[in-house]
């Protein structure tokens, strides 16, 4: 096997735990050479685990001076090490892009020597791609915590998105598994870049040909299930980052055990908390696109999301007083809160009802999950119910219908239903 293939294997393998996969949100345009960032982003392939492949996601190196317990590349781990040269990363990116394998590059790195030394190398790669190869495709760069402001500032002029991982949702959790790290070293550069983004935005109103600065914004990632934080804590942290640093995305990564030499972490063989991770993404979606507040999503008395049902349904079941909602009169904001109806169907309903009151058979055809929504709506031909439907009964009905999703639940919980 060629050395380059071996490096690619090692450094793709080490980068795959970074879950950010987005290639959207940039407005970078082709200037007559190569590359054009698609605003909506494109997933070019999907791995066998079902995650999308839109970017060539690699580490520059998996050598690292740190020893974070949750990380495959930690200093004390016995793995094969490799490092790409600047030219190798450029060649791979260009050749993959020209064949339409990828939407762009996602470049991260272990930290060798020190933060600035590593950051300086990452900067050389993105600069080379933009200026020598005249490449206008997407670039997502991981900022190295602790790197100097000038380097971060400079990199921001060449990349589309930047991110730094929070790793563990809370400071206390992080200290348990990575004593050398802290949340401040993540907050500081995120705030710095956010500040620059808004500066560039206000200047661009005065200057005609404005340079782009991190046009696709910033994101971060938290590992879920390695340390004991509750879903409420996790979502509060996410909300804080959305509010204060205007992040485009917060990613949640269900912890996959990679080592047995740390007894603070789940042991090897423990299944990654996939359902929990999925529920967190659903909750995150509700915050970003459905106008839900954290305390509406997670019940203060419970602190955990319900694993059996999605958070929107769980919210609706806790609020029988708000239902049923009349499809033919309710506004958009109210309709999207109905379980089984998403934003697109809600928009269709609003448009369609201008032509006449909607009936059940029409709703069924329009693509809403009627089996789920039926308990929460009335339409033109609904039978009027006397008295309240018990939400416990509704929950049982819906669960019975969605048996398919049950088999993915952890065993001990399944036993409650048999």
């Amino acid at each position: 096997m060629e050395r380059i293939e071996e490096k690619l294997k090692i450094l793709a393998d080490a980068a795959k735990y970074d879950v950010s996969c987005s290639s959207s949100g940039s407005k970078r345009k082709n200037n007559g050479s190569i590359g054009d960032a698609s605003f909506s982003g494109i997933c070019h392939s999907y791995t066998e685990d079902g995650r999308c492949v839109s970017l060539l996601k690699i580490l520059l190196t998996n050598h690292c001076i740190y020893d974070c317990a949750f990380c495959v590349s930690r200093k004390s781990n016995d793995v094969r090490r490799a490092a790409f040269t600047v030219q190798e990363v450029v060649d791979l990116t260009m050749n993959f892009y020209r064949r339409n394998y990828i939407e762009g590059l996602f470049l991260s790195s272990g930290i060798f020597k020190n933060a600035d030394y590593t950051m300086e190398r990452l900067l050389r790669i993105v600069k080379k791609l933009r200026t020598e190869e005249r490449y206008n495709g997407y670039i997502h760069l991981k900022t190295i915590p602790g790197a100097s402001g000038e380097l971060i500032q400079d990199a921001g002029l060449y990349v589309d998105r930047m991110s730094i991982n929070l790793e563990i949702p809370t400071e206390e959790g992080l200290k348990m598994v990575a004593p050398e790290k802290d949340h401040a070293s993540v907050r500081k550069p995120l705030a710095f870049v956010q500040n620059q983004i808004s500066n560039f935005k206000s200047e661009s109103k005065l200057i005609k040909h404005k340079p782009l600065f991190v046009p696709a914004g910033q994101s971060t990632q938290m590992v879920v299930g390695a340390t004991p934080e509750s879903d409420l804590e996790i979502l509060k942290v996410a909300d804080d980052f959305y509010q204060n640093y205007k992040l485009k995305r917060v990613y949640y990564s269900g912890y996959i055990p990679i080592s047995s030499d740390n007894n603070l972490l789940p042991a090897i063989g423990t299944r990654p908390p996939l359902i929990r991770e999925n529920r967190l993404y659903q909750a995150d979606w509700l915050m970003r696109f459905y106008d839900f507040k954290v305390d509406e999503i997670v019940h203060e008395s419970k602190h955990q999301l319900d694993l059996e049902i999605d958070p929107k349904l769980a919210w609706a079941l806790r609020h029988p007083e708000l239902f049923p909602i009349d499809i033919n009169t309710a506004n958009f904001r109210t309709i999207i809160r109905i379980p089984g109806i998403g934003r697109q169907s809600a928009m269709k309903i609003i448009k369609a009802r201008q032509f006449g009151r909607l009936h059940e058979y029409q709703l069924r055809k329009m693509g809403i999950a009627y089996n789920r929504a039926q308990y929460f709506i009335t339409c033109a031909d609904s039978i009027i119910n006397i008295g309240h439907t018990s939400m416990d009964w509704v929950r049982a009905q819906i669960l019975q219908q969605s048996k398919a999703s049950q088999k993915y639940l952890p065993q001990q919980q399944l036993s409650l239903f048999v």
């Binding site: 294997k9 980068a15 392939s45 791995t47 685990d49 079902g50 996601k57 064949r99 339409n100």
Partner: protein
């Protein structure tokens, strides 16, 4: 009921609309020349494609709706679904007669079918943006072979032209026997006979590949493998995203 027989092109379709209004015949069944079998008892009329007539209909649509909504009829037409095309005719007639945007009347069967077809074509278009894999030949041309469910090649030309301005490329639809060639200055449509088409499909090894082509295909395959997380394996989800019918065109799945 009268049958209109047209050449199967979008222009021909628009001329059928023109004919409907000219002859005040609104109960029309559209049939393409290819599938037409004369029926002794049915009334039929052959519609000759005429650019000027087609343009008048398209301009009328753009005026009644807007440019992008008018283009939706082209997109739906590319589905090659006779029911969708027949429905589209009915919708255009209604739009011209009633002067309202009935395309948003999702509670009504025709409008709903229209929007659903539009969505399907849109999805196939998006997939072709994602799943096209170019191979570099020894003369520096990047070529790709596809066989999309719908005739979406016309909808992705703009995307690839913007993206690959500095390389020559060819995308060939082997199901519909035509392709688009970009030569760094502009695009042209090419038709290739089945015999020649076999020649550009690399498995036949008639095309000479660039010396580095195999290397990058191999690197991409091994990247694809390394980026998978075994502990999260979910083939059902994988297959939903990458249906098997696309596999023979995907470097990483070959």
């Amino acid at each position: 009921m009268i049958q209109y027989i047209y050449d199967g092109s979008f222009g021909g379709f628009l001329c059928c609309v023109f004919e409907c209004f000219e002859r005040r015949e609104f109960d029309v069944q559209l049939i393409t020349e290819k599938v037409f079998a004369p029926d002794f008892f049915a009334l039929s009329k052959t519609i000759v494609s005429d650019k000027a007539k087609a343009k008048r209909v398209l301009d009328g649509l753009t005026k009644s709706l807007d440019a992008s909504r008018a283009k939706d009829f082209f997109r739906v037409f590319l589905s090659e679904d006779p029911i969708a095309i027949q429905n589209a005719l009915g919708l255009i007639i209604q739009i011209f007669q009633k002067k309202e945007n009935i395309l948003e009347n999702y509670g009504e069967e025709k409008a709903l079918y229209f929007s659903q077809t539009l969505k399907k074509v849109g999805r196939e278009r998006h997939r072709m943006k994602a799943f096209i894999r170019f191979e570099k030949s020894s003369n520096g041309m990047f070529f790709a072979v596809i066989a999309p469910d719908f005739n979406v090649l016309p909808l992705i030309i703009d995307f690839f032209t913007k993206r690959y301005t500095d390389q020559t490329w060819l995308i060939y639809d082997e199901k519909r026997h035509y392709g688009i060639l970009y030569d760094k200055t502009g695009i042209s449509e090419i038709e290739i006979s089945e015999l020649d088409a076999n020649a550009i499909i690399p498995s036949n090894e008639v095309v000479v590949l660039d010396l580095e082509e195999q290397k990058y295909q191999q690197l991409w395959k091994s990247y694809f493998k390394s980026t998978n997380i075994e502990a999260r394996k979910n083939m059902k989800l994988h297959l939903r995203h990458v249906p098997k019918r696309y596999w023979r065109y995907l470097t990483e799945k070959k």
